[in-house]
């Protein structure tokens, strides 16, 4: 009979094939104590693997997605408020800064004939329309580039 036995760590590692040591195999053939212990571990590991995985009684996807959608809505609202707040602030700031210059600008128009004024306003509107059309076109091109062709990740 053997007086020296294999440690629990060695028996587990042998069963889980973490170590390959012939001396363990040899020892197990002659030592009934260690053989019994290894069988106990084999039974334990086999039984653990038979345990059914736990599931929750609630719907995880629905619960988590509701929470995420609420967060996304809050975030989007916050971003929208920040955008409009900033825009209104800029408009007020620009308007306040422009007030002293308005009489001088109007004075230029008072000295001109109606035809000249209409010509200036018309040219201004055409330039403005051209700029808006160009900005919209650029926005659409960039949006298509970002959102339509990016599903192929760069590996």
């Amino acid at each position: 009979m053997n007086s020296i036995h294999l440690t629990d760590e060695m028996l587990q590692a042998y069963l889980l094939k973490e170590i390959h040591d012939d001396s363990i195999v040899t020892h197990l053939t002659v030592c009934s104590t260690c053989k019994d212990r290894v069988e106990e571990y084999r039974f334990l590991i086999d039984s653990v693997q038979k345990i059914e995985t736990e599931t929750f009684s609630f719907n995880v996807t629905a619960l988590a997605m509701n929470n995420i959608m609420r967060y996304a809505k809050r975030k989007s609202k916050k971003q929208e408020l920040t955008f409009w707040g900033l825009l209104i602030f800029l408009l007020i700031a620009i308007s306040s800064f422009s007030i002293p210059f308005i009489p001088r600008i109007l004075a230029i128009f008072y000295s001109q004939s109606i035809l000249t004024i209409l010509l200036v306003i018309g040219t201004g509107l055409v330039v403005l329309l051209f700029l808006v059309a160009d900005i919209t076109r650029q926005y659409k091109t960039k949006k298509d580039k970002i959102f339509k062709n990016n599903l192929q990740p760069i590996l």
């Binding site: 334990l44 736990e54 929750f56 995880v60 996807t61 990740p153 590996l155």
Partner: protein, 190 residues
């Protein structure tokens, strides 16, 4: 699926979500729900807390998705968030993560009704009860290793513990389980 396959499909899903398809995150939840459930359910008992934790974990994952660098599988990254969030929860409630587990759990048999104990002789049921008595971290490690069949390296990424520590905890957990089962059968024989 190979690791490259995982990373490719992870990239497609993550890119899609980051482009504004919030509903795409439901796929991420479906793919990782089982693993995250194992971590949360093994470390907590209260259903309300479990609900809060699951919501918190996935919200954190969604908020930080843009910082995911594809260095690991997406499921491993989310499992890491789940593990850290649950550990924080346990620490806030001062519940020990690695409590001093009795090698032989005295209450294991004492609290059992003798009649129902006789009925519950199924090894798996006995083992389930023994696992339930383990400290939260041991329970999680046993589940991740034996039920989810994750390699030590991946468990290490999830728990931020060195592989050697994980091995050592697993050895100890199995010794406790074996002793508890032996104790149970010996008590039944008496």
């Amino acid at each position: 699926m190979s690791n490259e396959g995982y990373y490719f499909s992870d990239k497609v899903i993550v890119t899609n979500i980051l482009n504004g398809n919030i509903q795409g995150f439901a796929i991420v939840i479906k793919n990782t729900e089982k693993l995250v459930t194992q971590i949360v359910s093994k470390m907590t008992i209260n259903e309300d807390d479990q609900k809060d934790l699951m919501q918190d974990i996935y919200l954190k994952a969604y908020q930080n998705l843009s910082s995911f660098q594809f260095k690991s599988k997406l499921s491993t990254w989310i499992a890491n968030i789940a593990y850290n969030t649950t550990i924080n929860y346990l620490q806030k409630r001062k519940i020990p993560v690695i409590g001093i587990a009795n090698t032989i759990e005295e209450k294991f048999i004492a609290t059992e009704n003798p009649e129902s104990a006789t009925i519950k002789t199924e090894a798996v049921e006995i083992l389930n009860a023994a696992i339930a008595k383990l400290p939260p971290l041991y329970k999680t490690l046993i589940t991740l290793y034996h039920l989810e069949e994750l390699p030590n390296k991946e468990i290490s990424e999830i728990t931020n513990l060195p592989e050697g520590t994980i091995k050592s905890y697993l050895y100890r957990a199995r010794i406790i389980l074996k002793d508890n089962i032996n104790h149970h059968y010996k008590s039944e024989q008496l």
